[in-house]
């Protein structure tokens, strides 16, 4: 302004009279317009100069955006959205950390919350898993896990989504009347006809109130832990009241049931007049819905496998157990059989390292335990036998040992009882000598019993009968061999007597028949004995062994009621006497 004032003051000085009006006008114009012109120039420069414009806009842009937002105009957001999105994209592309850092305070709690929620439900599952791990179901689940190759936790999670369909309503769609109604055991219910009616009413209410163009209707309701799933057909509606969370494929089961019932009951549905009677036949179909489809599948398929596997397992287990029991039984019988065997003592037995073993003592004469294995069909590989040799004092064993050592001749039997070895029967005197000499040396034998044993040589001698013609002291012919045989026996007997510290003596006894005079018979009988004595001596028998005497008719061998008996009485017989030798 001071400048302008000065110009105005200068004006009169520069004005000339003819041109003065023009100049005055110019002056005036200048005075009037010039400030505006300058402002225009200034403004133009501000507009045309981008730097200035940026500076100008920058001073108001925040306030402008704020004001626009306060006006409630969504255009700003719409205009900004693509840019903001692009900005975010670009920011992430250039350096994801910036945005990540910025979001961190928000994402942290969000992720934590999500993880906590997941962990909580996992924990519940695992709690349940623990609960079930030692139950029959737990074992079933473990088997299922092995069979399906899924983790046990997965199987538990799968099964933890348990649900129960408590009620199934079959409802006539148009009238809302209950056609059928089934409940799971121990579920208390309201009057089905009223509930069915209300369900239809609600269904219609929802359809009317929130109808979508495609005639969609309410297909599920949730109240706390209870869900109502509704599936509609042209004529019927099936509503399932479910406790818990049914799997998605239960919906398919409902649809299938609706379709089947629509098809199966087409006629009664078309002519329905309020009589629900025909729909009782849908019981079985609806009953299937009370057991979930999910379970139905598993129940239909798994048990065959599980039962087969279980049966196989059980069978194998039973087989193994019974085989083991059978083997054990065989082994026990083998042990007790061996223990009963004379000459075998079982000191210990058992099983170690999958192999049976029996230890003890065995008399070498006892039966072979290995042969017992075969009797009980046990493989020699499966049973280790360790028996140390010993002398058994078992009677049977001592008897066997004595028999083995003494080799009794046929007709002689050895029996040992309580340390006494008894021989019975008839034995040659030489064997008898051996018995007496060695018998007591046999382990287990303390004394000998020969009371039942006859000396075969004595018996042979004492059974000799040499016959004579009537009235003669000369042997009947053909008896020389008897004499020589008797001589041999006598020699053997004498040897035996020596071995057993005895003295043997042979009495030669002459007999006559009853004919003739007694005195003469006595003489005759003595002569007959002397004849035989002489014959024996000629066979090498020493005289001191022999004692001959005649008894006449005093000791008749037979009653003389026939000639044969009288013949036998005209004879010589022997009697052997053994007496302990004088020391």
């Amino acid at each position: 302004m001071p400048e302008q004032a000065q110009r105005r003051a200068d004006l009169p000085e520069n004005q000339a009279p003819p041109e003065s009006s023009d100049r005055a006008f110019e002056e005036l114009r200048h005075i009037i317009i010039s400030p505006e012109q300058e402002q225009i120039v200034e403004i133009r420069s501000r507009i045309e100069n981008p730097e200035r414009r940026i500076k100008d806009v920058s001073s108001v842009v925040a306030e402008a955006i704020q004001m626009r937002r306060q006006q409630g105009d969504p255009t700003l957001s719409q205009a900004l959205a693509p840019t903001v999105e692009e900005v975010l994209r670009e920011s992430v592309r250039s350096d994801p950390h910036i945005l990540a850092d910025a979001l961190f305070p928000v994402m942290g709690p969000a992720i934590r919350k999500s993880i906590t929620e997941t962990l909580r439900s996992m924990l519940e599952s695992f709690n349940e898993a623990l609960e079930h791990s030692f139950s029959l179901r737990g074992i079933q689940w473990r088997i299922e896990a092995v069979r399906t190759g899924k983790s046990f936790a997965e199987i538990v999670l799968m099964h933890s989504l348990l649900f129960r369909v408590e009620q199934v309503f079959l409802i006539h769609r148009e009238t809302g009347l209950a056609l059928n109604h089934l409940t799971a055991p121990s579920v208390t219910t309201q009057d089905p006809s009223m509930v069915a009616g209300m369900l239809s009413a609600i269904q219609q209410f929802v359809r009317d109130s929130f109808a979508s163009p495609r005639e969609e209707s309410l297909n599920s309701m949730t109240v706390g832990g209870l869900e109502v799933w509704i599936e509609e057909g042209p004529h019927v509606v099936i509503a399932a009241v479910i406790r818990g969370h049914a799997p998605a494929d239960y919906r398919i089961a409902l649809k299938e049931a609706v379709e089947e019932i629509e098809a199966h009951f087409a006629l009664p549905l078309a002519s329905f007049q309020g009589d629900a009677g025909p729909f009782r036949a849908a019981d079985a179909r609806l009953q299937n819905l009370l057991v979930t489809q999910h379970r139905e599948k598993s129940v239909a398929r798994k048990p065959t496998m599980a039962i087969a596997a279980g049966a196989l397992f059980l069978g194998a287990a039973l087989g193994w157990i019974s085989h083991a029991a059978y083997q054990h039984n065989k082994f026990s019988r083998l042990v007790s059989s061996l223990s009963r065997q004379p000459g075998i003592v079982v000191t210990s037995y058992g099983k170690s390292g999958g192999r049976w073993h029996i230890r003890g003592f065995r008399d070498p004469l006892a039966s072979d335990p290995a042969s017992e294995l075969a009797r009980y069909q046990l493989s020699p590989d499966s049973v280790a036998l360790q028996f140390a040799p010993f002398f058994s004092l078992d009677d049977a064993m001592v008897t066997l040992r004595a028999t083995n050592l003494l080799a009794p001749p046929s007709g002689v039997k050895l029996t040992e009882r309580a340390g006494t070895l008894a021989a019975s029967g008839m034995a040659p005197s030489l064997w008898m000598a051996r018995f007496n000499e060695r018998g007591a040396l046999i382990p287990g034998v303390a004394s000998l019993d020969t009371t039942q044993l006859q000396n075969g040589d004595i018996v042979a001698l004492e059974s000799v009968l040499l016959t004579f013609p009537v009235g003669q002291a000369k042997l009947e012919p053909g008896q020389a061999s008897i004499i020589s045989r008797a001589a041999v026996d006598l020699k053997t007997l004498r040897h035996y007597a020596e071995l057993t510290n005895q003295t043997a003596a042979l009495s030669i006894i002459g007999h006559t028949d009853s004919s003739g005079i007694e005195g003469a018979n006595q003489v005759l009988s003595s002569q007959r004995a002397a004849t035989v004595a002489a014959l024996l001596m000629s066979n090498g028998i020493p005289r001191e062994l022999l004692v001959s005497r005649g008894v006449g008719t005093a000791q008749p061998l037979r009653n003389e009621d026939n000639e044969q008996a009288r013949h036998l009485n005209r004879s010589v017989t022997f009697h052997v006497a053994l007496s302990p030798s004088a020391p």
Partner: protein, 167 residues
């Protein structure tokens, strides 16, 4: 047992709910009527020695005038048209309602109920019209939800009409 869907129709506060409350089996709260516009109850009537279950759709008085609630009437076998004779307008509303029902669903057995007959002194309807209905053979039953008068008759009359119509 035969079941029939029956609707209780009539203007607001003509006494439909009162009729239902005292004489039918009810498991739902009356609040249903105001929330979704209907409450379903049950009445078993015996006709000619046979029992019939009447499943009663008690439709909210005001809602029934709205066209969208007409869907509640689908599949009904008959209805009780209830009026409050102390309020002249309820008869007019009822007749208008009946016309709409007939238009939508044809002729369906119905019984006209003159409720509140315990308050007969306060009646304010044209009784000439009522007797004209009766003369033309239309079923009219006078009831009192308060005293119980005529209620059984109302349901059995409708039941008989429904059976007759079905036959």
């Amino acid at each position: 047992m035969l079941q029939k869907k029956i609707c209780m129709l009539g203007s607001f506060s003509v006494g439909k709910t009162s009729l239902v409350r005292r004489f039918v089996e009810s498991i739902f709260d009356e609040q249903y009527q105001t929330t979704i516009g209907v409450k379903v109850d049950k009445k078993i009537v015996e006709l000619a020695g046979k029992q019939i279950t009447l499943v009663l759709w008690d439709i909210h008085g005001e809602d029934v005038l709205q066209s969208m609630r007409m869907t509640y009437l689908r599949g009904m076998s008959g209805y009780l048209l209830v009026i409050d004779p102390t309020r002249r307008q309820t008869l007019e509303d009822a007749l208008a309602l009946e016309a709409r029902v007939q238009q939508a669903m044809g002729l369906i057995p119905r019984v006209l109920i003159l409720n509140k007959c315990d308050l007969i002194a306060d009646w304010d309807i044209d009784l000439e019209r009522i007797s004209a209905f009766e003369k033309s053979g239309q079923a009219v039953v006078r009831t009192s939800a308060k005293t119980g008068q005529g209620v059984e008759e109302a349901f059995s009359t409708l039941g008989a009409a429904v059976l007759h119509s079905a036959a």
